[in-house]
């Protein structure tokens, strides 16, 4: 499951980076979202695409959902 999520995530990262004309940092689990090279608008778009691709909003799946700060957080939710 985590592998699927990770590959979906990577595809969406690449899509947003490509469409934003941004260079993407290597995707390590500990990479902070804000530092991934997409900027806040790109990160916001990524969240929306992630929601579309996986069918859930990573921020509303748990009651005390904390904002995923890193790539690893994203994969875990």
């Amino acid at each position: 499951m985590a592998v699927d999520v990770r590959s979906t995530l990577r595809a969406q990262f690449e899509h947003v980076a490509r469409n934003q004309g941004k260079a993407l940092a290597a995707l390590a689990d500990e990479l902070p979202l804000i530092g991934c090279g997409l900027g806040s608008l790109g990160s916001a778009m990524l969240v929306a695409r992630f929601d579309d691709a996986l069918g859930f909003d990573p921020f509303s799946t748990t009651a005390n959902a904390e904002f995923p700060a890193t790539i690893g957080d994203f994969v875990r939710v």
Partner: protein
């Protein structure tokens, strides 16, 4: 008050003056010859029974509503025209506020118990009547504004304000066959009924639940020359193969922003037709019409205006003062329709680019992306330019980083051929024309998009 170009005293007067040419109103399953109506009635009452009364017209069928209006205008003191989606729960409020003392309906039984004694049945079967009408009264027309939530809001018009835009140029005097996707029980459709009745033409009415293809088939069969609707109506129509059988001389859009995509699509679909878009609302009436085939309107129209109309832009929105606007809202403590200088704020935002004003969206529809504004319509206008896009809807989606983000639903030409490639093309064209925060985060390809009963895109509450 400026008088319109015509001098008819009432709709009944217009019918009696008309030439002997065969004219009719046609709806799904029924047709009425206007010649018969001039000397007959579809109302089950004595001719003077509605004289001086406040008449609520509430019908299931748009054709019977049209007949009731034609026969009651100039006779009743006040006509209250109910749109088809006005729910039963609001009727007591409407009856009390407008001081209704008669109801005309093709479903009289449904109106027993609302506290109005005089219930008059109306049907599309016209019985001859030899009674000459008495003196025509200046009937007040009460229309419902297009707001959808809460208690209905009513405005007061007269035949003069409603028909002020019907000028002798073009719309009058022709053997035109009008057709409209609008329901004639709302302002946009009523305009077309009035043009047909006063201008000497005929009209094909759309049925409330009638499929668009079926309406187009009837319109083609009736030889429609003038066809009108919202941009959403037209986008749906152009997706339907039945549109190919219609050969209008004139295609008109109003009620939503007419972007360049839909104007170009209509030009391509109907090469022989004059395509124009009008700005109008129930409150301000018909403000202007643009016939140069381009979206927006030339800047000089603000200074020069049209006859009887003054316009200005304030806080980016279009303000209008016009002899064709409603006289006031109806109610105990109604809101003011105009500001102290007599102008109505339309809430429609415009942007000046190269000597032309473009409508960008409604003030109340703005999406806030991390503090930056987006009008969904301006993004839709870019999507609509792509040849494969038939309809697009841009909405806000909640987002933990920017508060909201823009996403799009798109209906494409053809089925099942939406690809990542198309999404990339659409996003590329958005990036080229729009600021980064206006570019949709994602585009979903859908088979259809909802349109309100008034023919406008269904937009969410966000």
């Amino acid at each position: 008050m400026q008088r319109p170009a015509h001098d008819v005293r009432s709709l009944g007067d217009a019918l009696r003056r008309a030439s002997g040419r065969e004219r009719w109103l046609r709806a799904p399953g029924a047709s009425v010859a206007l010649h018969d109506l001039a000397r007959g009635t579809g109302l089950a009452c004595r001719p003077d029974e509605l004289r001086g009364r406040t008449v609520l017209v509430r019908t299931r069928d748009p054709l019977t509503a049209a007949l009731a209006l034609i026969q009651s205008d100039g006779v009743a003191r006040r006509l209250v025209l109910c749109p088809p989606d006005l729910s039963d729960e609001h009727i007591p409020y409407v009856v009390a506020t407008a001081v209704v003392d008669a109801i005309v309906s093709d479903d009289v039984a449904a109106h027993r118990g609302v506290g109005v004694e005089r219930l008059v049945a109306c049907s599309a079967t016209i019985e001859p009547s030899e009674v000459e009408p008495g003196e025509w009264l200046d009937t007040e027309w009460i229309l419902f504004t297009s707001g959808t939530t809460g208690r209905p809001k009513m405005v007061v018009h007269t035949l003069a304000t409603l028909t002020g835009a019907i000028t002798s140029g073009g719309a009058l005097g022709g053997a035109y066959v009008w057709g409209t996707f609008y329901d004639i029980r709302r302002y946009g459709g009523l305009q077309i009924l009035l043009r047909a009745v006063i201008g000497g033409g005929s009209l094909v009415l759309s049925g409330e639940q009638e499929p668009v293809g079926e309406f187009l088939r009837r319109a083609a069969e009736a030889g429609v020359t003038h066809l009108t609707g919202t941009p959403s109506h037209w986008r749906r129509a152009l997706m339907n193969p039945a549109a190919r059988a219609v050969v209008p001389l004139y295609a008109r859009l109003s009620g939503e922003i007419a972007d360049q995509g839909i104007l170009d699509a209509l030009r391509a679909a109907f090469p022989g037709a004059a395509v124009s878009h009008a700005f109008a609302s129930t409150e301000v009436g018909v403000v202007f019409e643009v016939s140069d085939g381009r979206a927006g309107f030339p800047m000089h129209m603000i200074e020069n205006g049209a006859s009887g109309v003054a316009m200005k832009i304030e806080d980016e929105s279009l303000r209008v003062r016009s002899s064709r606007m409603a006289l006031r809202y109806l109610g105990d403590s109604p809101d003011a329709l105009t500001d102290e200088t007599g102008f109505v704020d339309t809430g429609d935002m415009v942007e000046l680019r190269d000597g032309r004003y473009y409508f960008v969206g409604r003030r109340d529809g703005i999406i806030n992306v991390g503090g930056l504004k987006v009008h969904p319509e301006e993004v839709e206008a870019v999507l609509h330019r792509h040849p494969r896009v038939r309809m697009a809807l841009v909405t806000a989606r909640k987002n933990p980083i920017t508060g909201a983000i823009v996403v799009a639903d798109v209906v494409c030409a053809g089925h099942g051929i939406a690809t990542e490639h198309l999404e990339n093309e659409l996003l590329a064209s958005c990036r080229q024309s729009l600021a980064p925060h206006k570019v949709p985060a994602s585009i979903r390809f859908v088979s259809s998009l909802d349109v309100t009963p008034a023919g406008k895109m269904v937009r969410g509450d966000t």
